[in-house]
Structures are given as C-alpha cells and as structure tokens.
C-alpha cells in the first residue's frame, strides 16, 4: 500500500506547545480516525495537514509533496460546522469550489449536481442551506469536499453537532462513501464508539502537547467491545495526566 500522507515529527507551539513531534503515515485508501482527549490538538493537526497552518517544526507530505499554505494541496475538508455560504443554493455552494479547477460553468453545475445526488441530496439542489436540516447541510459539505476530487478527505468532528440518530445515519453514509470512492479519509472525532464504528485504523493521541500514543488496527479482527474498552481506559489515563 502506497503511503499517501506522511506526518513527520510535526510540532506546533502557540504560547504553549500544542503538538510535540507527531509522526504517522496514512496509506492510500485507509480510513484513519484520530482520537484523543478534548483540546489535545487534533484540530490543529488537521489544520496543518490542510495547509491552513504551518508547523513550528517537522513537515507534512501529501503524495510526496510538502504541504505549505498557498501550495496546491489537493484536499477536501469537512469542518465541524457545515461552512456553506448561506446566500448560495446547495448546488452553487458545491460548484463554487470547482472554480479553481478550471471547469466550465455548465460542467461545474453538472458535477455539483452529481455529487449532491451521490450524498443523497437529489431534489434539494436549489435549496438554500438554512432551509434544510443540519444533517443535510453536512451532507452538502461532504459533497463539496468530494467534488474537488481530493487525494485526501479531512473530516474534523463533522457530526459533532448532529443528534444521535443523524450521527448514526451519517456514520453509515461516510462508510458507504469510503467504500464506493476508495478515498483516503482522515477523521477527527472525540467519540471512541464513532471511531471504532467507522475507522480502519485508530490513532490515539496523548494529552496536550499531543504525541501519538498508540495506533490500533481496526480491521474487524479484534472484538470491537474490547477495543472500545482499551481506548476508553487510555483516554481516562490521558485526561488524568493533564495538568
């Protein structure tokens, strides 16, 4: 399996160290969940991988290319909030991010409709974001992230603001999307159950400053209950370690 994403000794210090030498690799087509105590720096790491921020030390390579702000990183990102433009229809929201890819207007709209249909939003193309449910908005955000046909799909607690029922539905949806597209997904979550339910590989971080504590394969060979319990006790240890 080819390495698609290489995170190498990445450190980030704002006023205090947030990330302290985080290293891991993600292979093509993997579905990796990042876990850790709240506020340990998972989001910061995702922002560095997406090119929004620069690491203080270390580097990130995507498809062999070093990630830098302003560089041509090819990632799709789903944020915790949908971050759709409320004044544009769902279709126009998706079509907007296809502009930089140099597609013609008609092609853009067609691609946007295709991806909206793929996430189950057929018939809602012309709706304004505020007029559909939170789950549907998050689906549109996923369609937008997929539409740029990224090498890597980054998801930062995308379902945190959904209710339990919608979260379950969306977890299944992401699994389906992963299975159908074969995309590499990096998924930040604070829910161990969610991570175990969807990820093929789970990376547990330490409390701040974050380091990789352990990486667990979640390929169905282990009893999920056992994995959940192990992760739970790790989280408890990390939380208690926090000053």
């Amino acid at each position: 399996m080819a390495v698609q994403l290489e995170v190498f000794k990445v450190g980030k210090t704002y006023l205090i160290p947030v990330l302290d030498g985080v290293s891991f690799e993600v292979g093509e087509g993997e579905f990796v969940c990042l876990l850790g105590p709240n506020g340990c720096g998972k989001t910061t790491l995702l922002r560095i991988i997406s090119g929004l921020e620069v690491p203080t030390v270390g580097h990130v390579r995507l498809d062999g290319q070093e990630v830098r702000p302003g560089a041509q990183n090819h990632v799709g990102m789903v944020f915790q909030e949908d971050r759709l433009l409320p004044w544009m229809s769902l279709e126009d929201n998706v079509a907007l991010v296809l502009n930089p890819l140099g597609l013609e207007g008609v092609e853009r709209q067609a691609a946007a409709r295709r991806y909206l249909r793929f996430v189950g939003l057929q018939g809602f193309e012309e709706y304004y974001p505020l007029k559909v449910s939170g789950g549907m908005r998050q689906r549109a955000a996923i369609a937008r992230a997929l539409a740029v046909e990224p090498g890597l799909l980054l998801m930062d607690e995308p379902f945190a603001s959904l209710d339990a029922q919608n979260r379950r539905i969306m977890q299944e949806e992401v699994k389906r999307i992963w299975a159908e597209t074969g995309k590499t997904i990096l998924f930040v979550t604070h829910s161990i159950e969610e991570a175990v339910a969807i990820g093929t590989s789970l990376i547990m971080f330490t409390a701040r400053p974050a380091r990789v504590r352990e990486r667990i394969a979640n390929n169905g060979k282990h009893d999920s209950r056992e994995v959940i319990e192990r992760l739970n006790s790790m989280i408890m240890e990390e939380v208690l370690r926090q000053p």
Partner: protein, 270 residues
C-alpha cells in the same frame, strides 16, 4: 425577521395601520381646534395645508423643488457611497486601514452639520455644490462605518473554507465578502439617505433658489406658514416612499436567502 413571508397574510387593514390612522385623525381634530385658537400665522389649519398640497401639485412646484433637492442628495449621497465603498474595499484588502477608517469616522461623526454648511458656503459660495458637499460630509461616516463593520464581521470560518478550497482573491471577494457585507451596506444606505434628506434641506436654506429647504424658508419669509407645513409633509412623504418602496425592496432582495426556500435564478425576487 425570519418568519416574514412577504405577499402572504398581509391584509389591507394591516398595511394601512388602522389604529395609527385613528390617532392621526384625533391629532387632526386637535390641530384644527388649536389653529382656530391661535390663528393661521402661528398654526395653519389642516384644511389649508391640504389645499396647499393641491396647489403645489397643480403648479408643478412640488416636482421642481423635490427634484432639485433629490438631485443634490443623489450627487452628495452617491459620492459618499462611492468613497465609502472604496474605503470598505481597501479595509478588506489591508487590515490596518480599518483603524484609520474608524478614527476618521469618529472625527467626522463628532462634527456638527453646521460646520459643514458654513465651510461649504465659504468654499463653494451660493451654489448647488454647498448642499451637495454638506450631504457628502454628513453621510460619509455613516456609510463608511457600516460598510467597514460589515467587512469586519465577515465570518472568518467561511474565509478559511475559501482558503482550503483555494478560491482566488476575486472569487473570495465575490462569493464571501460582498454577500456578507451587503446587509450592512443596505442598512447604512437606509440611515444615510434619511440623514441626507434632513441635512440637505438645512443646507438649502442658504444660497440656492430651489429645493425643499429653500422653499420652506421662503414660505416662512412671506408669512405663508401653511406652506412650511406642506413641505414638511412632502419631506415625510419622500422618506416613507424611499424607505418602504426602495430600501425595503433592496433589503428583501439582498436577504432573500433568509426568507425563501429555494434559490430561483430565473424567477423574480419575492
């Protein structure tokens, strides 16, 4: 605001504000009584004011003076709007410009209308330019403050989204910054235009020979008090018409995404 569904459920009685009409009727009656008590020079009767309105409608004075005032307002207000938009554009590109604009706005806001009237009389003499310049100086801070506030309040998370998806500068401006700023702009224009109308007529007292301010002052000089009231009503009328027809229309168009379900690119705005 979100639950307003324009066009539906609005009955004529709601539109006419029936209770307000009743109060106005009562005010009219008291007005008539007071007019009889103190005489037409101090307080002309409502009937004579209504007759005056008929008079200026027939003579065409209504359009002549209203047109002259509106022309000056549009030039002064329009120039202020242009400069304010430019300032907003600048601050969206270069953050330090915000502090400068803030400070300038604070200084302009603390300057009395009268200062600008006197200064413009010194600079431009008894010409059209005097009320135009006064309007410009008074509406500029209101418009600039609103636009800059709009630019400042653009959701950073949306800008970040634009960054992740590598939207170009002009694209970010068109898709994110302009639509976020529009509601502030419309609100500023609404307040600014009202201010422009009030200020420009004061400036018209001096030097010019047309316009609502001029004719009101002239009416006072020739002791036609009822005409002062007539023109006051004309001003109120202009305010109501621009507010209800123009600015409410614009603001509904701009905020369409809050009211309507679907974006209908081809349909007329609701």
């Amino acid at each position: 605001m979100t639950n307003v569904s324009p066009g539906r459920g609005r009955r004529w009685s709601d539109l006419l504000h029936l209770p307000t009409l009743l109060v106005l009727l009562a005010v009219g009656l008291v007005w008539e009584a007071l007019s009889r008590r103190y005489g037409a020079y101090i307080l002309p009767s409502p009937v004579s004011v209504l007759a005056g309105i008929g008079g200026i409608l027939r003579s065409g004075d209504l359009w002549r003076h209203t047109g002259a005032s509106l022309y000056r307002i549009l030039i002064g207000f329009g120039s202020a709007l242009t400069l304010a938009l430019f300032m907003g554009f600048l601050t969206s590109l270069w953050r330090p410009a915000r502090t400068v604009v803030h400070d300038v706005v604070t200084i302009l806001n603390s300057t009395s209308v009268f200062v600008w009237i006197v200064v413009s009389l010194i600079w431009f003499g008894l010409t059209d330019l005097a009320p135009m310049f006064t309007t410009f100086m008074i509406t500029l801070p209101v418009l600039a403050a609103n636009i800059v506030e709009g630019v400042e309040n653009v959701d950073r998370r949306l800008l970040e989204m634009g960054q992740v998806y590598r939207l170009s500068g002009p694209e970010r401006f068109r898709a994110i910054i302009i639509p976020s700023t529009l509601p502030y702009l419309v609100a500023g224009m609404k307040v600014g235009f009202g201010l422009a109308l009030k200020v420009s007529v004061v400036a018209e007292i001096f030097g010019v020979t047309s316009g609502i301010g001029y004719i009101m002052n002239y009416s006072r000089e020739i002791l036609a008090t009822q005409m002062v009231f007539v023109w006051a009503l004309v001003m109120i009328g202009i305010m109501l018409v621009t507010d209800k027809l123009i600015f409410e229309g614009i603001s509904r168009r701009v905020m369409r995404w809050q009211y309507s379900l679907k974006s209908s690119r081809w349909a007329r705005p609701t």
